[in-house]
């Protein structure tokens, strides 16, 4: 995997924590975007060194900027958010807004010649700028993990799905063959797949998209990560299957304290899962705050546009005002 190359700004962890998004050179910050997160964030590490050390945030982004070094284009202009166990942050925006790039930066898988050009990302209190490729490999899966839109392309078509999940737990957790098998069945049960014994022996092409996405989620959480990044993970699914997967993510979050980053162009998905939402456009966070505040009382014109469009060209078109209560 590509380590984040070309970092031009490196900050010490303490400094990064106290850094607030700079507003110089950017459009005026939307009212929700303040130096303080609008939601009280209990797990946020204190910026003062002598404070009682709290558990570090599993994932913390501070004014992250991403540049395509081949063209010199700045693609992400400052993203800041903190995750605490069980917390869910949503990122909405159209393609090209930088939401996926931000996630890839947090996973250490930015495309070649893209680099973090400012700000910092910390995973479990460690600045990712200091991570070696080896350290990344150790972190991925066991601390940060991800699921993407098209589950079939992340599975080997010629290997039974059970073996593919088993490989993760054998490598990441050092389980033996039998223990790994048991763990796989447990994971498949946890993602509510009926008849796990049968499913684990099947090949990807024998399973539906919804089943594959559940298997991907099972694989992603197999090594007990603290953060799961779900990038359009339910976009391609049937509505009833999407409901199952959204419930599953909410359940994992509740029962295991998994923190989530949910990237979606569907405001309703974000509304369903997230505590906090970031609205991105052209690499910029135009509005950020508690989900209900941002989506029900948007302040930035762009967020208002997204919400209006959603209400006009979606299910909410037929909602009667009484139902909003």
């Amino acid at each position: 995997m590509t380590p984040s190359t070309g970092r031009t700004v490196t900050r010490g962890p303490g400094e990064a924590r106290t850094a607030v998004p700079r507003s110089t050179g950017r459009r005026p910050a939307a009212p929700h975007t303040g130096p303080e997160p609008a939601v009280p964030d209990a797990g946020r590490p204190p910026g003062v060194p002598h404070a009682v050390p709290a558990a570090p945030s599993p994932l913390s982004l501070r004014d992250v900027r991403i540049t395509d070094h081949a063209t010199g284009r700045k693609l992400v202009h400052g993203v800041t958010f903190d995750l605490t166990p069980g917390r869910t942050v949503g990122i909405v925006g159209e393609s090209g807004s930088g939401k996926t790039l931000t996630c890839r930066a947090a996973l250490g898988i930015l495309p070649a010649h893209f680099g973090i050009s400012g700000g910092s990302i910390e995973i479990d209190g460690t600045d990712i700028g200091t991570l070696t490729p080896r350290a990344w490999t150790a972190l991925r899966g066991s601390t940060v993990s991800a699921v993407f839109q098209d589950p079939a392309s992340y599975l080997n078509p010629s290997i039974r799905v059970g073996r593919q999940i088993a490989e993760v737990v054998r490598v990441k957790q050092g389980l033996g063959r039998r223990a790994a098998h048991e763990r796989v069945l447990g994971l498949l049960r946890a993602v509510h797949l009926r008849d796990p014994e049968r499913v684990q022996g099947q090949y990807p092409h024998e399973l539906s998209g919804g089943m594959l996405q559940r298997i991907l989620i099972a694989t992603a959480v197999a090594a007990g990560p603290r953060v799961l990044i779900a990038d359009e993970a339910t976009t391609a699914l049937d509505v009833t299957v999407q409901a199952e997967v959204l419930d599953l993510l909410a359940e994992l979050r509740r029962t295991t304290g998994l923190a989530l980053v949910v990237v979606s162009h569907d405001l309703a998905v974000v509304a369903r899962l997230c505590d906090e939402v970031l609205v991105m456009r052209d690499g910029e966070v135009v509005e950020q705050g508690p989900t209900r505040t941002v989506l029900h009382h948007p302040r930035h014109p762009y967020t208002r546009l997204l919400v209006d469009e959603h209400e006009q060209y979606g299910l909410d078109r037929f909602r009667t005002p009484e139902e909003d209560a």
Binding site: T240, H265, A268
Partner: protein
């Protein structure tokens, strides 16, 4: 817009040389543009026959948008393929613009398509656009084969690009040089170039982000005034609800429910429709939890 289109050799004699402006708000024969009655379709040989559609009926009138909602395996794409003459129904009838096309063979379908009675837009615009053709070629070809002069065809291509809000500078590009959203808008323009009576859209916005999704839906809404009938097929309840006048819900190859969009969304009668509507997340309101979904599922017979 075009003047009087010259009829090509293939054009059926009953096709009126209808002027483009103003468009017909009624179908030539006065009835619905598409009438599907008790349609059945099967795949496979007799020994391993699988029923995909088991008695589906629906109508789409001129200027009307009918949404067809169904999940994987509901038979919605097979129905689209029947309407486009790509799958032959095994029973029932299919009447397109007053013509019974149920038993049409390949040649008759080709003639129909060449006349541009029915057009299509698929999820992947690369399936409805020839990757080797420029946008201009894709848009003008259906007219040129009918004998429309080049200048007229080119003018029509420009008009349509304008309708789907694309820059005429894109005329010389190939599909690979366009973004996904631009490509899908070209696919919509291509579908409209022959002034079809019916456009079948199979998951037209499912691969697009929200901005492009709304762009396409807005364009489709504007088409209503033109009198073209739209059959909008999708698993995405939200997109269908966003444009459809009426909604038909398919479940396991049968028709679960049909009604006005507002009725189907706000007062679903069939448990499957309720399951769909209650499963979809919305900005307001609370979707069903697992227990409620399970209880709705339990009411389904298949």
């Amino acid at each position: 817009m075009t003047g009087t289109p010259r009829l090509g050799a293939d054009a059926a004699p009953d096709a009126p040389a209808s002027p483009a402006v103003p468009p017909n708000s009624l179908s030539a024969h006065g009835g619905p543009v598409l009438r599907i009655s008790d349609l059945h379709a099967h795949y496979g040989t007799r020994a391993r026959r699988r029923t995909v559609l088991a008695g589906v009926s629906l109508e789409v009138a001129a200027g009307e948008t009918v949404g067809l909602i169904g999940e994987t395996g509901s038979g919605k794409s097979t129905l689209a393929r029947c309407v486009l003459g790509l799958v032959r129904p095994s029973a029932g009838s299919l009447v397109l613009d007053g013509e019974d096309v149920t038993r049409h063979g390949h040649r008759q379908w080709r003639a129909l398509r060449r006349r541009g009675v029915v057009q299509y837009v698929f999820q992947d615009p690369l399936r409805s656009l020839d990757p080797d053709l420029t946008v201009a070629e894709s848009l003008t070809e259906p007219l040129l084969v009918r004998g429309t002069p080049w200048t007229e065809a080119e003018q029509r291509a420009r008009t349509l690009l304008d309708r789907v809000r694309l820059d005429p500078g894109l005329l010389t590009r190939q599909p690979a040089e366009l973004s996904g959203g631009q490509r899908q808008r070209v696919a919509v323009a291509r579908a409209l170039v022959t002034e079809p009576r019916l456009v079948v859209l199979d998951e037209p916005v499912s691969a697009l982000d929200s901005a492009n999704r709304v762009r396409i839906l807005r364009i489709l809404k504007e088409l209503r005034g033109d009198g073209v009938a739209l059959l909008f097929i999708s698993h995405d309840l939200g997109s269908v609800a966003g444009v459809a006048d009426r909604i038909t819900v398919l479940h396991g190859g049968t028709l679960a429910e049909t009604g006005t969009a507002a009725d189907v969304i706000n007062r679903p009668r069939h448990p499957y429709t309720r399951l769909l509507v209650r499963s979809a997340p919305t900005l307001h309101g609370t979707p069903a939890d697992r227990a409620e979904r399970d209880s709705l599922r339990a009411q389904l017979t298949h």
